[in-house]
């Protein structure tokens, strides 16, 4: 399920992505789950390629990922995932039951609004300047742990093999990349979150998740 690098003009879907972006990871994971092939277009955030006029036209906020589906251009991973869910309903990522569906959307929001934005490079740079590296790491860890603790409590009564039951859904799509980043980049001690740890073990075993991981992307730097 590896992405095609460059040339395949017949691929209708194009994903602008950065290998290390956890938001891009979510979408890559979902595309794999839905069996959708796509053209991978790397946007080198480290080199500032998100600020080119061409990319700005695609996303005025200068973030990846951006999905192009024929004439349709969607940025923001949450919006992309909602779009994919409706346009390509195979391997549905949202359960039909309203409470379960809401739970998945809530988990996605906790991650995309309460955790990930506070880990952005621009925020980290600001904090390094204003409060120093040590305090910055504390800030990051505190916010991740606050979010993970909330997820731990929230999912306790709903969890199965995956976040909200026996199937992989939207909550897993958001969670798995976030836990990966939290452990690898920010050294979060997952033993404090036994439910999340257990779910993560199932998630990280999925070939669709692995194929979407940073190191396997065409623009990965080894």
């Amino acid at each position: 399920m590896a992405p095609k690098d460059g040339g395949e003009a017949s691929s209708k879907l194009v994903l602008y992505s950065y290998w290390q972006s956890s938001c891009s990871w979510r979408v890559r994971f979902a595309l794999n789950l839905k069996g959708l092939s796509y053209e991978y277009k790397a946007v080198n955030l480290a080199k500032g390629e998100q600020f080119t006029p061409e990319f700005e036209k695609l996303n005025p906020l200068h973030f990846v990922p951006v999905l192009v589906d024929g004439d349709v251009v969607v940025s923001d991973s949450y919006a992309i995932l909602m779009y994919l869910e409706e346009k390509y309903p195979q391997r549905t990522l949202l359960p039909a039951d309203p409470q379960q569906k809401a739970l998945n959307l809530q988990v996605a929001s906790i991650i995309s609004s309460s955790i990930q934005p506070l880990l952005m490079l621009s925020i980290l740079k600001y904090l390094e300047e204003k409060v120093g590296l040590e305090e910055r790491l504390l800030f990051v860890q505190t916010n991740i742990e606050k979010g993970f603790l909330a997820l731990e409590k929230l999912l306790k009564d709903f969890v199965g093999k995956y976040a909200t039951g026996e199937e992989v859904y939207m909550a897993d799509v958001f969670m798995a990349p976030q836990i990966a980043v939290a452990t690898e980049r920010f050294k979060i001690d997952m033993s404090k979150f036994p439910t999340l740890s257990r779910i993560y073990e199932s998630q990280r075993a999925l070939p669709e998740f692995l194929a979407a991981s940073p190191e396997r992307q065409p623009d990965a730097v080894h």
Partner: protein
């Protein structure tokens, strides 16, 4: 007024822009609800009862019979599906995606960076003088992006001539930007125009912070009942 048991309950804080989004939605859909205030400044979100409803301690929380939903995005999608009157999402997929994008610029790129918890942190760890500039910077960055995103799509409202999800998420954020953080709206002509349009909609205005039962304003203190209902006259 009879205290009938209202099926819908909304846990809300007057000034919470996330709560405001849902208050607008409930008004537009003509849904009556019981307003249950959660005083964030007093830490009521950390009470054991509230933590059971929402372990991350945020408002809003919607209770609909047996169903408990927190997070404004999740609540919005639930309401949209369960109560399809006055649809708040267009059927066209690109336009729908545009609404999700605009909503998420607010939810993920602006609001989390100017909420109470983060501002408190900046005040304590950086300095009190950094607080407002920090909030303003993130709001303005987000507003710039929204101007660009919506420029070719806006009509009377954010994504056309009907009120949709984007408007529900924009209105409270623009309101907060103006009232609390002194954002210079002259830089944002589209958002300024939209703000004017929202100011003429009773369903939006009734949902604004100053008009809530727990608002410290004179209006708020007069409301001695925690029941709130808006009848949809349109």
């Amino acid at each position: 007024m009879a205290h009938e048991e209202k099926k819908l309950k909304l846990y809300s804080y007057w000034r919470s822009s996330c709560s405001c989004r849902i208050r607008i939605a409930l008004n537009l859909k003509g849904l009556e609800y019981q307003y249950i205030p959660v005083n964030l400044l007093k830490g009521e979100q950390f009470s054991p009862e509230f933590q059971k409803l929402n372990p991350i301690g945020y408002v809003p929380v919607l209770v609909d019979g047996d169903i408990v939903i927190s997070d404004s995005f999740a609540i919005f999608m639930y309401l949209e599906e369960k109560y399809p009157q006055h649809p708040l999402l267009p059927s066209d997929l690109q336009k729908k995606a545009l609404n999700f994008q605009a909503a998420n610029i607010v939810c993920s790129s602006i609001q989390p960076l100017q909420n109470l918890a983060v501002l408190k942190y900046i005040e304590e760890k950086a300095s009190p003088d950094e607080k407002i500039p920090w909030a303003k910077r993130h709001i303005e960055k987000g507003f710039e992006a929204l101007e660009k995103l919506l420029k070719d799509h806006a009509g009377i409202y954010a994504t056309g001539d009907e009120v949709f999800m984007a408007d529900l998420f924009l209105a409270p954020q623009v309101h907060a930007g103006i009232k609390r953080f002194n954002v210079d709206m002259a830089k944002f002509p589209l958002l300024s125009r939209l703000n004017e349009a929202y100011s003429e909609l009773p369903h939006f205005q009734n949902a604004m912070p100053e008009n809530q039962p727990d608002s410290p304003s004179a209006w708020g203190s007069m409301a001695n009942s925690s029941t709130k209902s808006i009848k949809c006259h349109k």
